[in-house]
């Protein structure tokens, strides 16, 4: 279980996160929803060791996660960043090889590559193409596959459905549930609050750096404030 306690992050004078606490139990799907600039990406970047924290603690099973980002990946906590961030100049296959950077066993890397090619056959077809030549949706598949290459225990997904066609959004959410059912713990950040809440075991609502609501996915979805602000439903 990952536990965030009293976390604050400042960017210069801007308070991006103000004393938030949340926990991500093993094997669950936890969602964070909130408007633009609420601090969602900042939260997961803190968990991934990508931003300096101002105060608070982040631990996994009692061990501090305030360590360099590469060591967090080695522990099995892997982020799929906002905006895909695939490497555009190297090939699809090379992107995937880097995804498995922490794995030393070559056979294992091969096996994982076959697994993601089964999941997304289009990537196999495109494996020798530079990542930058893929379509937006294909880049999202590559970004997710790249993360899966390292056998993560915990997958941290930052807006995986952003910019995808409705059909594919459904597929991505289905895939997230599938990944969860085979044992991956999921931390999901989404603007698509409705979907994110519907698959979440537990959810948090962030507003300008503070948690304003939390609970089981369904409960949060039924909260009148959340309904109005994030789901566009008036009571």
């Amino acid at each position: 279980m990952i536990e965030v306690k009293g976390l604050s992050v400042h960017y210069g004078g801007i308070v991006a996160l103000d004393n938030i606490s949340l926990s991500i139990p093993d094997g669950k799907i936890v969602s964070i929803v909130g408007a633009n600039g609420a601090g969602k990406s900042t939260t997961i970047n803190a968990i991934s060791g990508m931003v300096k924290i101002h105060s608070g603690t982040i631990t996994e099973n009692g061990e501090s996660l305030l360590i360099p980002p590469q060591d967090i990946v080695k522990r099995g906590i892997v982020q799929v960043p906002e905006g895909r961030k695939i490497f555009p100049t190297i090939t699809v296959q090379e992107n995937l090889i880097l995804g498995a950077y922490v794995i030393k066993d070559r056979e294992k890397i091969k096996k994982n590559m076959e697994k993601v090619f089964d999941l997304f056959p289009i990537l196999k077809e495109r494996k020798n193409q530079p990542g930058g030549t893929l379509s937006g949706g294909e880049q999202q598949m590559l970004s997710l596959s790249r993360a899966l290459m390292s056998d993560p225990r915990v997958l941290v997904l930052d807006e995986p459905s952003l910019g995808l066609a409705p059909m594919f959004v459904l597929e991505i959410f289905k895939m997230i549930e599938d990944l969860n059912s085979i044992g991956h713990t999921i931390l999901l950040v989404e603007q698509n609050a409705q979907k994110a809440l519907s698959i979440a075991d537990y959810a948090y609502v962030l507003e300008t750096g503070r948690i304003v609501s939390e609970g089981r996915g369904k409960e949060v979805a039924d909260d009148p404030i959340v309904k109005k602000a994030y789901l566009g439903i008036e009571e």
Partner: protein
């Protein structure tokens, strides 16, 4: 020009161009990852030219052994320079201009050091090759130049293999487009940058050795890397392959022009053509870009 002379100049040009290519790639490796023009590469070249002279002349006069040793020393000098003058400002998030200033200062420091210490003398490498030319019919080939060409080609081929086939090589190429995201794959970016400097330093070491062997060693030998930087720019910043091609072309153009119009006019023609070329094609020979779709 007689056909023989042309062929000979062509070969000389390719050999010299091979060394320009080494310099272009050594320079380009760092430019790709950190996006600044690393003039301190000239410092590595100069230190290694002296080092190669010293061990081959005074310690162990064996060509292969001293070349390899010099290359390795070059690699470590690259790593040390990065740790001392680039890493601290990178971790502070300094602007690129500061990297540039540091790199130029380092190059000048090395130059002045050698000028003060050993500036009033020329230092020739031992004559590893007794007979300096091979004759094939009417055709004469300088052995030193052949050696330069084969060593440059060998070193560049190995580097190309590493960059394409090993994880760290792929990571260096990935970091060229995005230096933040590799951390999310468990890649230690400090190590990636160190390794890039190590490889660039090895190229600098080989460059210094070959230049020292082909000419003589003087404090300003490091400024030869200007040719390499020009090759990198013509090749298209970001494309190491482009830098290699441009280095070879530059060497050939230079040699042919020297034979045709003389050594004093050649640089004028070359520099004017480069400016013209970049006016027509500012992205260089092989400039290309990919878009990351949001």
């Amino acid at each position: 020009m007689k056909i023989n002379l042309i062929l000979q100049q062509l070969l000389n040009g390719i050999s010299l161009g091979g060394v320009y290519a080494l310099m272009a790639v050594g320079f380009g490796l760092i430019f790709n990852v950190l996006k600044f023009s690393n003039f301190s590469h000239g410092g590595v070249v100069a230190i290694c030219a002296y080092f190669g002279y010293f061990i081959s002349q005074h310690v162990y006069p064996n060509f292969i052994v001293t070349l390899i040793l010099t290359a390795i020393v070059g690699g470590f000098i690259g790593v040390i320079i990065e740790k001392l003058i680039f890493r601290p400002i990178r971790l502070k998030g300094a602007p690129l201009t500061l990297f540039l200033v540091n790199s130029i200062t380092a190059a000048m420091l090395v130059q002045q050091f050698f000028a003060v210490m050993w500036g009033d003398n020329y230092y020739p490498y031992p004559e590893f090759i007794k007979e300096t030319a091979i004759h094939i019919g009417e055709f004469t080939v300088s052995k030193i130049y052949l050696l330069m060409l084969s060593i440059s080609a060998f070193v560049l081929l190995i580097l190309s293999y590493i960059l394409r086939k090993t994880k760290i090589g792929i990571a260096i190429r990935a970091a060229s487009s995005d230096i933040r995201t590799p951390s999310l794959m468990g890649i230690n970016i400090d190590f990636v940058i160190s390794t890039a400097f190590f490889f660039a330093g090895i190229l600098g070491g080989v460059t210094g050795y070959l230049l020292g062997m082909a000419f003589t060693v003087d404090p300003f030998i490091g400024s030869m890397i200007l040719k390499g930087i020009i090759a990198a720019i013509i090749g298209g910043m970001g494309s190491l392959g482009g830098g290699v091609v441009a280095g070879l072309l530059l060497g050939v153009a230079e040699s042919l022009l020297i034979a045709e119009i003389g050594a004093s006019l050649t640089p004028i023609v070359i520099y004017a053509s480069i400016i013209l070329l970049l006016l027509i094609r500012p992205e260089g020979i092989s400039g290309k870009g990919y878009i990351v779709k949001a």
